[in-house]
Subunit: 143 residues, 2 copies
């Protein structure tokens, strides 16, 4: 596989620095970043959302998630499985049948994520307004 199974994190997370009192933020981020990368990539959040309701098969997921390629669905599911958030169950029948479900750990993550989703829906008008104001001001100064 060309990607996804690498053990090296995407970000440097250097810890050899010692010149600032708040540098711990950077180190804290080393752990946060890994899970954040998991939930924040293009499709993981959708998958977790869907699986929170029910167990789904590969093809069902592909149909529910509009626009995903089977390549990205596969890698997304592998990532989630590796992190213990999703359980993959292969039924030894022909044609093959593979079920995906959230693990208990994955369910707790979904709960936490939901808070973020709620925040977004709640404050979306404010963000839209802020963007409109910003863009208007930018258009003003650069006509």
């Amino acid at each position: 596989m060309e990607e996804g199974t690498s053990n090296s994190p995407s970000y440097s997370c250097r810890t050899e620095d010692d010149y600032g009192v708040m540098q711990w933020h950077v180190r804290e981020d080393c752990e946060v970043r890994q899970i954040l990368d998991r939930i924040a990539d293009k499709w993981s959040l959708l998958v977790i959302s869907l699986l929170d309701r029910q167990t789904l098969r590969f093809t069902q997921l592909k149909q529910e998630i509009d626009g995903i390629s089977q390549r990205m669905l596969t890698t997304t599911l592998r990532h989630l499985e590796r992190d213990g958030l999703v359980r993959r169950t292969v039924h030894p029948v022909v044609p093959p049948r593979v079920d995906y479900a959230l693990t208990p750990l994955g369910a707790t993550l979904h709960t936490t994520i939901q808070a973020l989703v709620d925040w977004t829906e709640h404050h979306q008008p404010e963000i839209a307004a802020a963007r409109a104001a910003y863009d208007a001001a930018a258009a003003q100064s650069a006509p």
Copy 2:
């Protein structure tokens, strides 16, 4: 500017589909994705974390965040400012002084984000164990 000021979202968010009961997940994600992209990019979370404690200047942020380029600090701050999460204050002095602070909206986002950070720190051992188990099993079947 080559990037960052584009109004088009990074993801397609197609809404013309109507073949599934759960397709709303995809539409819901259209709003979620935008704020998720904001907090999940490489540096925004760090910036929000730092500014939650105090107002900081550009150079202070650059020093606190180990490894960031001034290019990415600038674009990150512009994004956060555009979304109304960070307030940029220019003091008309020479040499120039620019302060960055969280807006009230940004502060509420930080609170929500903190729940995710806490989840991560709390469950990090489980994730690490799951990864180790997965990698061990993978090494087993592919020697």
